[in-house]
């Protein structure tokens, strides 16, 4: 689905990226724990979160996420908005809960992001939750 459709579906609005309404949103990852976001997202994903801190947009930037959806009526700070604008990452805000947001996105064809494979055979640990 398109970014503009997503904002409408969630009864929210596009806070950053008004000119990016046609951006395709097809995969998402939802978490309030940045450690999980860092470990488990792949680069073509949209991030759904209720976490507001300066690190969220920095992580989104580093991970090349497509867009960020802030749930539960959380509003990003001016510094976060500024970072999103500089990095060209659109931001959608909604009053809906994480659960409802994810449910509606899934119902409209958005699917889980694929986890990135291990970087090398020598690496340990599992990338699959």
């Amino acid at each position: 689905m398109k970014l503009a459709e997503l904002a409408e579906l969630l009864e929210g609005f596009v806070l950053v990226g008004h000119n990016m309404g046609d951006l395709e949103i097809d995969r998402a990852y939802a978490a309030d724990l940045l450690s999980d976001v860092l470990a488990l997202t792949d680069e073509s994903t949209t991030l759904v979160t209720g976490l507001i801190n300066p690190q969220v947009m920095r992580v989104a930037d580093i991970l090349n996420v497509v867009a960020v959806v802030f749930v539960r009526g959380k509003r990003p700070s001016d510094a976060m908005i500024d970072h999103a604008q500089r990095a060209g990452i659109p931001v959608v805000v909604t009053r809906k809960t994480m659960f409802e947001t994810c449910g509606q996105m899934y119902e409209n064809g958005v699917r889980p992001c694929r986890n990135r494979p291990m970087s090398s055979p020598e690496s340990v640990g599992s990338s699959t939750p």
Binding site: D32, L34, S35, D36, A39, E43, Q55, V59, I62, G125
Partner: protein
Amino acid sequence: MPKPADVKPGVRRIVHTISARDIEHGGAASAEVKAELRALGVSLATARRAGIVAFEGEMNLIVYSIDGGTITVEAAPDAIELTFKDTGPGIEDIDLAMTPGYSTAPEWATSLGFGAGMGLINMQKNSDLFEIHSRLGEGTVVRCRIIRRDHEAA
């Protein structure tokens, strides 16, 4: 933003200084590292891996180090090397620290969404070569080497 310097032919070195407990700026240096690598022509996929490694290491310096530390990034034509260095407290049991889910993060860090005990493992996962050396009372050095795969689709 620190300027890249030529250390040897074809190798650019960038050093970021990280302050202990400076959560406000946490991750800012890593976002800069990613941007710097992109500016040096590193692919999006490789810069992303380096950015993840930098972020996890930066947060470790902020949360755990006594007096902060440094992130040294060396970009060579074939690989990116990131070295994280602090002067203490040092890690008592590295095997334990590398156990998924194990964390000694203080409450102020976990309340911000950090300290899930996955940082070092995620650094290793995103590196082709990972080394950690630590001595109690002296400090910790983590070295991560990422082979450039700049042919990868951005």
